[in-house]
Symmetry: C2
């Protein structure tokens, strides 16, 4: 399954107007095989059955507290929560993971135990897990309540009202061209346009469209996944939590803008322009991915 | 919960290029209180537990067969299927409904028994239910395999390959302005811009943005739901399967294009232009809803 930072592609958003956050290009994402205990099973062992929305004592949220201390919590621990209904749903596949790609977690990835919440922004997959709490209310931690929310373009640091928005959870559909660097110089002729596509909430990828004329005409790319991987689901939905790769060989006769956009299995599409989804925190830049290529001769 | 035809807003799509299908404006949608037996409970009674993806005999899909005969099935019955994992998931809330708004179904709505699949295009909510089958493969009916799929704009009736696409299920995020008719003539000044917003797959509405300058600047509309209705979930997610209304009073000084777009709780957005999602069957027009208003004096 993949994990993606809410700030993936933030740098491109900051080109519109300044945003706050680490300047990520297109690589704040990864895909790995995780092993561990299913949170739904662990909760069942302590008396909370599968598919519970509210416990008898009124618990509705599962909070994950890290041993990692941070300045945003005034020296307290990093923390986050997810709804209990998600935590107790076996098909949501929330893991308490102790292995990554068949090996024990290393320190950077959260040794000895971390949470993996598939399909959700990376910030909820708490590393170095210390405590799990069942709460009546959402976690009140900084990264739930004062960060990782998506505001409209009209909101700035003077008029922001954090309470007006829900914490970000599911990641919307995303795709990125990785085979061509921005302002690439290449020879005229056929070139490979390839990259990754992914969606949140367990939704797979229905289609990836590529344009070599800035978005006027489109061709569909082929899609594939790594073989020999134990995906959650078979055939049509083996992309339930995992990314898919796309590839198309296409003629690029002159300098142009190459564009990629994906559609997920719930028919969600990516927004055309980054301007309409600009937000001050620079999160969820899922706008059509655009790469400028300069076509010329090699001795240019 | 709401039900929406995949062809809602098809007429606006056919303005780009001809599409096949009934010419719907913005009203191929409804919202009602449904009562009946949960399909997950019924399947449990016949030995298929909750959250089953595959039965022991290899069943993966639940097919609904109507008593309604149709020419597309060469005189056979209308039918459709959903994945078994959805049918056996109590939180997917699939109903075998015998009441609508507290009264027995009338004939038009599927008396005596119909399926209601929330968050999914209307075509899967089979009326006048005759038989339920558990199948290894998806239903092979016309409306699953040769209709209600979304193709890219490049596909036409000569190069279409029906097998290349999955049947449409979840509806993506949608919103529509209902308070202003297209090419409305109004006096300069404050006007109410209101309508409905809805998303599929159980996703609620995070935000509705309104622009009175064709999409350059946006204000957020307020949202509300009917009171006294027994919604599935409480407060923040009472829009799990139901539509929400939006409303904003806004100054419209001169003739302009008014635009509405919604964001759902998984941060999915609507596509900006209908051209990029045009498809030959005219389904899933969820592009930004645009209404032209002509501002003048009443004696014009």
């Amino acid at each position: 399954m993949h994990g993606q930072c809410a700030g993936n592609r933030r740098t491109a958003m900051s080109n519109v107007r300044t945003v706050k956050g680490v300047g990520w290009d297109v690589s704040a994402i990864g895909n790995a095989v995780w092993s561990g205990a299913k949170l739904a099973d662990v909760l069942e062992l302590v008396g909370i059955p599968n598919l519970t929305s509210v416990t008898r004592s009124g618990g509705k949220h599962v909070e994950f507290v890290s041993i990692d201390k941070c300045k945003e919590e005034n020296g307290g621990p990093y923390k986050a929560s997810i709804p209990l209904s998600q935590a107790t749903n076996p098909e949501a596949d929330v893991l308490l993971a102790y292995e990554m790609n068949g090996e024990p977690l290393n320190r950077d990835h959260g040794y000895p135990l971390r949470v993996v919440v598939p399909g959700v922004i990376g910030a909820r997959s708490v590393k170095w897990l210390d405590t799990i709490n069942i709460l009546a209310e959402e976690c009140q931690g900084f990264f739930m309540q004062k960060d990782y929310k998506m505001f409209p373009p009209s909101v700035n640091w003077d008029n922001i009202n954090w309470k007006s928005r829900r914490p970000l959870m599911d990641f919307p559909v995303q795709c990125v061209i990785c085979s061509l660097e921005d302002v690439n110089v290449m020879k005229p002729g056929k070139a490979k346009v390839s990259g990754y596509a992914v969606s949140g909430g367990g939704r797979g990828i229905e289609r990836v469209d590529i344009s070599v004329d800035g978005g006027k005409n489109w061709v569909e790319a082929s899609r594939y996944q790594k073989t020999g991987i134990p995906y959650i689901a078979d055939h049509m939905s083996s992309d339930k939590w995992a990314w898919v790769f796309f590839e198309v060989i296409i003629d690029i006769p002159h300098s142009t803008q190459i564009v990629a956009k994906a559609v997920d299995t719930a028919a969600n599409v990516q927004p055309e322009s980054v301007e309409t989804i600009w937000n001050l925190r620079g999160v969820l830049n899922t706008s059509w991915h655009r790469v400028q290529v300069r076509v010329g001769h090699s001795n240019m």
